[in-house]
């Protein structure tokens, strides 16, 4: 892509490809060129990346609000996470032009109505075990700060509560409480992904939990916390 022309070219290509339809107007609204954005555009790293290629536009917070209004969906709705996943978005609350357009293409969306219809399909994807796992694991990288290796505890808790509302895990509240009491630090990717395995495979009496297995240390501590505080009575064997 050539410099000055890059932004325009993409736009043009896009137009040519999709023809002249109403979404055009919306795209213009959603995409706020960097020089005009009143909102902070993420981390230093992101800024630098943007500086390197100033013609990659981003949809950021404002744009996302608008997007959600048009889709008739709450920005906090978990379906937006699924959307982000389809778009392979790198970070929450941001879509790069590439991500967004690539996502729309792969979903076969070319009208707002189709986008809205797709939402219910996307919601159903959460019911599928394998999909849910993929989306769950994706959300770690998506929710964390760019350039950080671990996920801030507050954010993690928020995500867990969101995700486990869809796939019900009875111990999620205890888990969050435990973390705030005993851990109070960021969550590693390994712990994040292993937690889902834990929730899926270990029964609520913790009878099939093996402390000597490869579970992360934090989960070992959680099990201890549950038994010590009498929240779960583990059968003695």
């Amino acid at each position: 892509m050539e410099e000055e022309e890059a932004g325009t070219m993409v736009h043009t290509n896009f137009y040519c490809h999709l023809g002249n339809w109403g979404i055009l107007k919306k795209l213009e609204q959603w995409f706020i060129p960097i020089s005009m954005s009143p909102w902070k555009l993420g981390e230093k790293a992101a800024l630098q990346a943007l500086k390197a290629n100033p013609y990659v536009d981003m949809i950021v917070v404002d744009g996302i609000s608008l997007l959600c209004t048009d889709l008739q969906v709450d920005p906090q709705d978990i379906v937006m996470l699924v959307v982000s996943w389809h778009m392979k978005a790198a970070t929450m609350c941001e879509f790069s032009r590439q991500e967004f357009i690539g996502g729309l293409q792969s979903l076969g969306i070319d009208t707002i109505e189709k986008f809205r219809e797709k939402l219910s399909y996307m919601r159903s994807e959460l019911r599928d075990d394998q999909r849910f796992r993929e989306i769950y694991n994706f959300s770690f990288g998506w929710a964390k700060e760019k350039g950080q290796k671990s996920l801030a505890l507050e954010t993690a808790i928020g995500m867990w509560q969101l995700l486990f509302a869809e796939w019900h895990w009875p111990l999620v509240d205890h888990w969050c409480q435990f973390l705030q009491l005993k851990h109070n630090k960021a969550i590693s990717r390994d712990t994040w992904s292993q937690l889902l395995e834990f929730a899926k495979t270990i029964d609520l009496q913790l009878s099939n939990y093996d402390e000597e297995g490869a579970w992360p240390y934090l989960i070992d501590e959680f099990v201890e916390y549950l038994t010590e505080n009498g929240i779960v009575q583990r059968p003695q064997n």
């Binding site: 290796k149 590693s188 390994d190 712990t191 292993q194 000597e212 490869a214 992360p216 240390y217």
Partner: protein, 745 residues
């Protein structure tokens, strides 16, 4: 005239038999002990020939078969008319005697008869596959005599054995002969012996010893009971030698052992008054050796003893731990001397416990691996507890320090010291936190070396050698580096002296000796922004200029907190040389210029932290020697105090060392060790994964634990480090099998 060949007249059976009959009668008479001369060769030949001739006759006169039948009849007749009646009404020993005679006679009869009739064996018997003459004779006796009498004979024999067991004298020769009959009657197989005699004999033996043992167990002590066991086993073996068949020995001994030992083994071992535990406690070596020998022959015997032994040693060791704990909690923390003494006592007592137990394991328990193992396990159990708030690694270091330093509380000969150090190093073998030992040892060694408190350099090197032998070169590399530094320092000092002579301008006018420490070897010391007294700055300058002439590209960092100073103090009545630390000297030198100084003035002049200043001032005016006076004259330092030189100080010595109490750096040392362990575990995990590429969780943990010799890793620590390595992308979890790790190059 025709010549007729003379055809011998056929011998008719009845006629022929007469001769044979004579022979048989003669033989019977001999057997009965009647006066009868023995057979001559002619008589034998006559009978043999007669039979021979009768056999070769042509039919209808060949009477071979009839002779064969007659042979058996003769024997049967003799048995029924003579042998059986003679046995019929006899019992016990009389029966046995008679049977022995009859069997012996029968063998003789069989021998003679078969000689007479031996022609039958050549062709007739073979051709017709008939039982041989011997077999026939034998079978007759067995089926007629043996089968009839075997029951009574067996009872009689067993009853004799019992009598002997009860202490009576019996005719062993007779018994031996009788039992041999049981053996011989089997012609090579032991079936008759086993079924008709041995089985019942063993039963009877079992019953006998069962009764005896049930008696003994009530009245005998464990050692005495064992003596009885030994005795009866010996007697039974003797019995086998003298009259039982050798094959009976293992079965017999096992039965006896079972009845007297196995059945009661738990009761015996656990006897409160005289059982295994008591014997160990009272160090009864003979009884323990006996016990070992006896119980090594029964299933599980040694295993159980070893468990009792292990428990005993563990309890003794744990008692020592508790004793030390109690002393520490009773005394106030200030009486560190007493606590220190208790620590010394603890280590010494543990060594003594070990010394006491080695002969038990080596001699009584014949150095059996099982016992070596449980001794090790027992020591590991109690030596890895905290004692009086400290780890045993630290206590062991203090113990060694006491032996190796000048003025330690124990006085020993060189040889004795060698032995003690050897034993101390042995104890380290049981302690898991060996890296903690090294760290504490380093600290103590540093003090000994730097403050010239080491009593004997040979001993210092000797213990390092022993530690190296036990734990590898890497274990002692830093310590050896420290000792080497001291040697190098002496050389450097000599060179420095030369340099000063050659460069008199640089000479500071004060005797300066510098020890250069290689950073990695020595414990890390805090550096501070201490204000060096101006009297000393020229010294430092001189050395700083000299050192690069010796080696280049080395950075010198001065640790004044470790220095010593000999300072002359002019008191009113005397001049005394004070041996103090550099910091203490700095405080004193301030009083060259001022008569009185406040706490804060001192602190700002020296530029040291509060805790250092307090310690320093305490050492100079609140402890043994009052070099400074303090207002108010309390026993503790406060920031409002004012200090003055105590010109009135006197002492009968011309030279005094003013000690500065050391700060307890235990916490810092534990932190250092913890931090090091993380690196060690990381390195170990990476090493394993690099070579194995893929490994499951359990195996990784197991291998890691195996490879780490210098401390026993906490499983939680290893798990945490694995997670950290995952985070740092050295490892990853396999996507299919979450228990599997993969190395990421």
């Amino acid at each position: 005239m025709k010549r007729k060949r003379a055809v011998p007249k056929p011998i008719l059976f009845g006629e022929g038999w007469e001769v044979i009959e004579q022979g048989v009668t003669k033989m019977k008479r001999i057997l009965e002990g009647l006066p009868e001369p023995p057979f001559t060769s002619e008589e034998y030949m006559k009978i043999y020939t007669r039979i021979h001739d009768m056999c070769i006759q042509r039919s209808p006169h060949d009477t071979t078969e009839k002779l064969y039948t007659k042979y058996k009849e003769v024997i049967m007749e003799y048995i029924t008319s003579v042998v059986l009646p003679s046995l019929k009404d006899k019992h016990d020993e009389f029966l046995l005697r008679e049977l022995v005679i009859r069997w012996s006679n029968h063998k003789i009869m069989s021998k003679w008869l078969s000689r007479f009739f031996s022609y039958l064996s050549r062709f007739f018997i073979k051709r017709n596959s008939l039982p041989s003459l011997d077999e026939v004779a034998f079978t007759c006796f067995r089926d007629q005599v043996y089968k009839e009498t075997k029951g009574k004979v067996k009872d009689a024999a067993i009853s004799l054995i019992d009598q002997e067991r009860c202490g009576e004298q019996i005719d062993r020769g007779l018994l031996k002969n009788v039992i041999e009959i049981f053996v011989e009657i089997g012609t090579g197989k032991m079936d008759y012996y086993k079924n008709d005699f041995e089985e019942e004999m063993l039963k009877e033996t079992t019953a006998y010893y069962s009764r005896k043992a049930s008696n003994w167990i009530l009245i005998e002590s464990f050692p005495d009971y064992m003596l009885k066991v030994e005795e009866c086993l010996r007697r039974e073996k003797d019995r086998v030698v003298h009259y039982l068949h050798a094959t009976s020995e293992p079965k017999l001994i096992e039965q006896v052992r079972h009845e007297v030992l196995c059945v009661y083994s738990s009761q015996l071992l656990e006897n409160e008054k005289s059982g295994c535990c008591v014997l160990i406690q009272e160090h009864k070596v003979d009884d323990l050796s006996r016990m070992y020998k006896l119980f090594s022959k029964i299933d599980d015997g040694l295993c159980r003893i070893s468990q009792i032994y292990k428990k005993h040693v563990t309890v003794e060791g744990t008692t020592l731990v508790k004793k030390a704990d109690d002393v520490a909690s009773n005394k106030e923390a200030e009486k560190r001397v007493v606590v220190g003494l208790q620590e010394q006592t603890f280590v010494r007592e543990v060594i003594e416990l070990h010394d006491k137990n080695m002969p038990l394991v080596n001699d009584c328990f014949q150095n059996h691996t099982l016992f070596r193992k449980v001794l090790k396990e027992a020591f590991e159990i109690f030596l890895n507890k905290t004692v009086a708030g400290s780890s045993t690694a630290e206590l062991l270091v203090n113990y060694c320090d006491n032996i190796l330093k000048k003025g330690g509380s124990e006085k020993h000969s060189d040889e004795a010291i060698e032995q003690i150090l050897e034993k101390a190093v042995n104890l380290l073998g049981y302690i898991y936190d060996k890296d903690l030992f090294v760290e504490f040892y380093r600290k103590k060694l540093a003090r000994r070396l730097l403050f010239d408190k080491s009593a004997n350099e040979d001993h210092e090197r000797s213990i390092l050698t022993k530690l190296k032998q036990q734990n590898g070169t890497h274990f002692t590399s830093k310590l050896e580096g420290m000792v080497t530094d001291m040697t190098l320092a002496r050389e450097t000092q000599a060179d420095f002296k030369d340099y000063l002579q050659c460069n008199p301008r640089t000479n500071p006018g004060i005797d300066l000796s510098v020890t250069v420490l290689t950073t990695g070897f020595w414990p890390s010391y805090r550096s501070s922004d201490f204000h060096l007294p101006f009297e000393m700055t020229k010294c430092i300058q001189a050395f700083t200029e000299f050192y690069p002439t010796k080696t280049n590209s080395r950075k010198l960092t001065w640790i004044y907190s470790l220095g010593t100073c000999n300072i002359t103090a002019k008191f009113e009545l005397q001049t005394i040389e004070l041996i103090v630390t550099t910091y203490q000297a700095a405080v004193l030198l301030l009083f060259n210029d001022s008569n009185r100084l406040s706490y804060s003035e001192i602190m700002s002049q020296l530029n040291l932290a509060d805790d250092d200043v307090v310690r320093l001032l305490q050492s100079l005016c609140c402890l043994k020697y009052k070099i400074l006076n303090k207002e108010p004259n309390t026993n503790s330092i406060s920031s409002d105090d004012v200090f003055a030189f105590n010109s009135k100080f006197t002492n009968k010595m011309r030279r005094i060392r003013i000690p500065l109490p050391i700060v307890d750096e235990k916490k810092k040392i534990l932190e250092v060790v913890d931090k090091d362990r993380k690196y060690v575990v990381d390195a170990c995990l990476i090493r394993i994964m690099k070579s194995r590429k893929v490994l499951n969780h359990q195996q990784l943990i197991t291998e890691c634990v195996e490879q780490l010799k210098v401390f026993k890793p906490d499983l939680k620590l290893i798990k945490k480090r694995i997670e950290d390595l995952i985070n740092r992308e050295y490892l990853e979890r396999d996507s299919e099998n979450l228990n599997l790790y993969r190395y990421l190059a």
